[in-house]
């Protein structure tokens, strides 16, 4: 943990440059370039809004906002993992030639997605205004779940990036795990739809507490219970400590397997 903070701070310029590189490479050779970071979530929202306000109508008012308030953080989580699972293997040529603290790679991969997440709140806010949904003051609370989500994502990233070095199957398994996890998490539905006697199973899902905070703040204009906030940070730090410990334990062997 301490090691993570220390090397992140010492190599902050490198991490920032790597994250920017990631974004630059992602949007290179496209006419609109960096604008896609904004346009992508905006267009996705447009599609979802049209689908759920005309074709599939739910009894939930402003369903698009209900959905997107959780879908945006989920997209950050799944995209971070999707990109970062490859962050050690993908930088293998570099790791084989330059001595560099390996932790900078997962941190940079997550950072580049944080930039995307933050940018996606802009079209989200526009959508809230456009649909006439109340713009709650609880938006101010959002930095708290964002922080908890980053901690959780970084921990998971460290774990999967390490595992993928030794078993390349991990990247493929991860795709399946993420899509199952998506349906297991109340994103397109609400936990209220789940029969009461089954809800305890859903409460074992470590990401449920943090995404709940997003939905409450954006859609309902409420703040989560302190126990839920505590649970979201507890899950985050457990993931980070385990993920980081595994990463640091095996980092010296990466060079032989990439």
């Amino acid at each position: 943990m301490l090691e993570l903070i220390r090397s992140t701070y010492r190599y902050r310029e490198l991490i920032w440059a790597l994250a920017l590189k990631e974004l630059k490479v992602r949007y290179k050779r496209s006419a609109l370039g960096f604008l896609w970071a904004l346009l992508n979530p905006a267009l996705m929202m447009l599609v979802l809004t049209v689908v759920f306000s005309t074709i599939m109508r739910f009894a939930i008012p402003h369903y698009a906002i209900f959905l997107l308030s959780v879908l945006l953080p989920w997209t950050f989580f799944s995209q971070s993992l999707g990109y970062a699972v490859d962050c050690i293997v993908g930088n293998g040529e570099l790791i084989k030639k330059v001595s560099v603290p390996k932790l900078v790679f997962p941190v940079a991969a997550v950072l580049s997605n944080i930039i995307n997440l933050l940018l996606s709140f802009i079209p989200m806010a526009l959508l809230v205004l456009a649909m006439g949904h109340p713009f709650y003051s609880t938006w101010l609370y959002l930095p708290v779940p964002v922080l908890a989500l980053i901690i959780f994502t970084l921990g998971m990233t460290c774990f999967f990036a390490t595992a993928n070095v030794f078993y390349r199957d991990v990247a493929h398994i991860l795709q399946v795990v993420l899509s199952a996890w998506f349906y297991f998490t109340p994103i397109i539905y609400s936990l209220d739809f789940v029969p009461a006697h089954l809800r305890w199973i859903f409460r074992l899902n470590p990401i449920i507490y943090v995404v709940n905070g997003f939905r409450l703040a954006i859609y309902y204009g409420m703040l989560p219970h302190w126990q839920s906030i505590a649970a979201s940070f507890a899950c985050g730090f457990i993931a980070l400590i385990i993920g980081c410990a595994i990463f640091l334990k095996y980092q010296d062997d990466f060079v032989f397997y990439v």
Partner: protein, 262 residues
Amino acid sequence: MSSMSDLQRSANHTVVRLENVTQRFRVIQERPDSVREIFAKFFRHEVSFHDFDAIRNLSLEVPSGQMLGVIGRNGSGKSTLLKIIAGVYRPTAGRVHVEGRLAPLIELGAGFHHELTGRENILLNGLLMGYSKAEMRAREQSIIEFADIGDFIDAPIKQYSSGMQTRLAFAVATEVDPHILVVDEVLAVGDTGFQQKCFARIDKFREAGKTILFVTHNMPQVAEHCDRAVLLDKGSIIADGEPAEVVSFYKSLTLPEMAAVD
């Protein structure tokens, strides 16, 4: 500046020290092609790897200001040795001590990203070697001048010729003012003019009291530029001393082989 005067004060102290270093690699002989084969192997307790020491119980001390040539046939452990010194590998056994900033020129454009421009790569490469953004910005212009790649500096690296990439890599590694420079065969790529420029710079490095570790198959270069040479064979040093003597010893070892081919 204080580091510079420190270096001069203790002119001949050791900056690279390896004590009984062994680097073991696990070589997987064949990968099982199917799940069935994995199970078959598992139940028959077949071992499908063997261990191989690329560097075997090697000790070496390099004083500051020395230009050390490392020679030996392919697979003798030269590159592995440099990678241990550069901190890329953590050795299986033994101790490694390296003092001062080290610039590795291990393979062509290590750390270059092909989609990024030359200018962006200068910054990224410098940061990877542990320099700050401000330091790299200050040196950017002289790096571009030394590499001599003109307007290409703002084009993606993937459009560069291999010679241009080497020139840029060499310029970045040497312009950042390291204490130790590690050069692994990369200079073979550039044209004669650039090679002369590189050796002029390497000689300047030596005059400034810096340490250079130099791997090459070009024996005249070793004899001409190095202060000392070591000959590696199967991961051990089998000769260490005057470049001319080590080179002729190496030639005496390889000559019978060449005669056999004829």
